[in-house]
């Protein structure tokens, strides 16, 4: 008779040798893509953006009085209604932008991330690129879908618009671009503040509260200052340009991103995780 001793299975460390594994920026981008797409808040936020963009546009088109439709250029009506959702969605994308990074701090995930990428900055830039590009793609899809829906609704009211009209494209791309850029400002605010509530408050403050407070102050320089705030700048991208040319507006937005991103990067490198 033989007695079988069953102890804990002593695990083999690796069944097959690993191929040369090496840390690289391409890998960091893939990692950030996996991270972005495997939490529910991302899916929810992008779904809300898509639906709000569609819904806002449809409400605008359907609620316009007949006289207005007759008096306006059809392309203007379609572009305005397709872009208007951005005014709401800039808040949604800002919350997501903050969450993408503060979610890591809040849960302790950041320590896993920074152990895998101990030089740290590739995590920040990789996350920004993946989040920015994804937001732009979701933005352009949402805006185009909204434009398409609006075209159908306008058709039923006897107005005809088409995407073949080259004039409409800068506004539609501008709307999606603004969404991505404002999302990145919020993202770097989150990286700087490292707390969800604080990050969201800062982003909302910059986008919503500061402009409305400044609106009450009647001084020439305050008015000018107000024109440089992200939301005012952005309107030159998806509504007819007033203060800035679109390319200037993009530069100002990139400036805003840099102003937040540089201290965020310095502190990420310096602080204990």
């Amino acid at each position: 008779m033989t007695a079988t001793v069953t102890g804990p299975a002593v695990a083999r460390l690796s069944h097959q040798p690993l191929p040369e594994a090496r840390l690289g920026f391409g890998g960091v981008l893939r990692s950030e893509w996996i991270k972005l797409t495997t939490v529910r808040s991302t899916v929810w936020a992008y779904a809300i953006i898509f639906l709000l963009q569609l819904g806002m546009g449809a409400v605008i088109v359907l609620s316009q009085p007949e006289e207005y439709l007759e008096a306006s250029a059809p392309a203007d009506v379609a572009v305005f209604s397709a872009s208007l959702g951005v005014m709401l969605n800039q808040l949604v994308i800002s919350v997501l932008g903050v969450l993408v990074i503060t979610g890591e701090y809040g849960t302790g995930q950041i320590r896993s991330s920074l152990t895998a990428v101990p030089r740290r900055l590739p995590v920040l830039w990789g996350k920004a690129i993946v989040f920015g590009v994804t937001s732009f793609v979701v933005g352009i899809v949402s805006v185009l879908a909204s434009f398409g829906l609006n075209a159908v609704l306008l058709q039923s009211r006897g107005v005809s618009v088409t995407l073949f009209d080259a004039e409409v494209w800068p506004y539609l791309v501008g709307a999606a671009g603004y969404l991505a850029l404002v999302g990145l400002i919020a993202f770097f605010l989150g990286a700087l503040i490292r707390h969800t509530a604080g990050g969201v408050a800062a982003a909302m403050g910059l986008i919503l509260v500061v402009p409305s407070v400044l609106g009450f102050i009647s001084a020439e320089w305050v008015t000018v200052l107000g024109q440089w705030l992200p939301m005012s700048v952005g309107q030159n991208l998806f509504f007819p340009a007033t203060v800035f040319q679109p390319w200037q507006a993009i530069l100002v937005m990139l400036g805003w991103i840099a102003v937040v991103a540089v201290p965020a990067a310095i502190l990420l490198k310096r602080r204990d995780a």
Partner: protein
């Protein structure tokens, strides 16, 4: 091989790690032992660059961790259970970490099987127990098939089967010639797992020696119980023998063996009720070493003792008070 040289970390006025130097050699399981707040975790975090040393330096295989081209292949670290986004599944968490180094998908499946997470790998980590979180942390540490393993309190929250698994696993890991640094405040765990022990207290290295040496450093003694204990004690009185009375009929003798004491009792014609050789445990050694180095000391029954001395009418409720020992 991990080498720390006068490694120091201060948080404001508080010094968490105070000029610590040590080497963790390959082929051994090195235990990092110390009371809560001794600086174990901070030291481990500095090894992988999560905390920046105030001064001093620490290298892994000759280089700071961050400068390695394939960090996860150098060091696998479990520094806290559930350093994971709670909304993500275990498998996706591991996939994301693996992606940074281009570690293939099959290795992710391998570490999931290895740590027994197969049935829960698709579940979100937020619902994991501490034990499952520990297993996931170990799986993440193993992803890069690392040459060095750093585990902070790995058996915390594990079931007995899991504890046995970790123990066997780190022993095998070291036997393969790799480096293992394992922290614990459980001496019994260390006695079973570690070959070499670094004891740390109040941010300083108190001892750095093989387990055998540390255990051997506490004196073994013989407990003797007899109705005529005084006669035995007198008979044993020599310059190199230490006799301590612990009860009316009991003494503890250091410096001679049980055989000598038994023979002496026979010659005296005195009956022995007990003759026990007591060997020091790692626990005893540890308590001796860290007696003055405990950051948070719990005083049990101190007020009960003072109450008793105050008079028989005083209530003898034992209470525990915790005092933070400030330096």
């Amino acid at each position: 091989m991990i080498e720390a040289t006068t490694l120091t970390k201060r948080y404001g006025a508080k010094t968490a790690v105070d000029g610590v130097s040590f080497a963790v050699r390959p082929g051994l399981v090195t235990g990092f032992l110390g009371p809560n707040g001794a600086g174990k975790s901070t030291t481990m975090r500095m090894i992988v660059g999560l905390d920046r040393p105030t001064s001093g330096r620490v290298t892994v295989n000759g280089m700071p961790y961050a400068e390695h081209r394939s960090p996860l292949h150098e060091v696998g670290a479990l520094l806290e259970a559930k350093a994971v986004h709670t909304g993500r599944s275990a498998r996706n968490h591991l996939r994301a970490l693996a992606a940074t180094h281009g570690i293939p998908r099959r290795r992710v499946d391998e570490v999931i099987d290895l740590t027994g997470l197969h049935s829960v790998a698709g579940r979100r980590v937020g619902g994991f127990s501490l034990g499952m979180g520990q297993r996931l942390g170990i799986a993440a540490a193993l992803l890069g098939d690392p040459a060095t393993l750093i585990l902070d309190e790995p058996v915390n929250g594990l079931d007995p089967e899991g504890v046995l698994w970790v123990r066997g696993f780190v022993r095998q890991f070291a036997a393969e010639g790799r480096t293992v640094l394992l922290s614990s405040h459980l001496m019994s765990e260390m006695a079973l797992t570690a070959d070499h022990i670094i004891v740390i207290g109040k941010g300083r290295v108190i001892a750095d020696a093989p387990v055998g040496d540390i255990v051997g450093s506490t004196k073994t003694y013989v407990r003797v119980r007899s109705p005529r204990i005084d006669e035995i004690a007198r008979r044993l009185g020599q310059p190199d023998v230490e006799v301590t009375s612990t009860a009316a009929d009991t003494i503890e003798v250091r410096g001679i063996t049980a055989e000598v004491i038994g023979d002496a009792a026979l010659q005296l014609g005195v009956a022995l009720h007990e003759l026990t050789e007591i060997t020091g445990s790692l626990e005893d050694a540890y308590m001796d070493l860290t007696r003055d180095e405990v950051e948070y000391r719990t005083t049990v029954g101190a007020s009960a003792a003072s109450a008793a001395s105050a008079g028989p009418s005083a209530p003898s409720a034992a209470s525990a008070s915790t005092e933070g020992a400030l330096r």
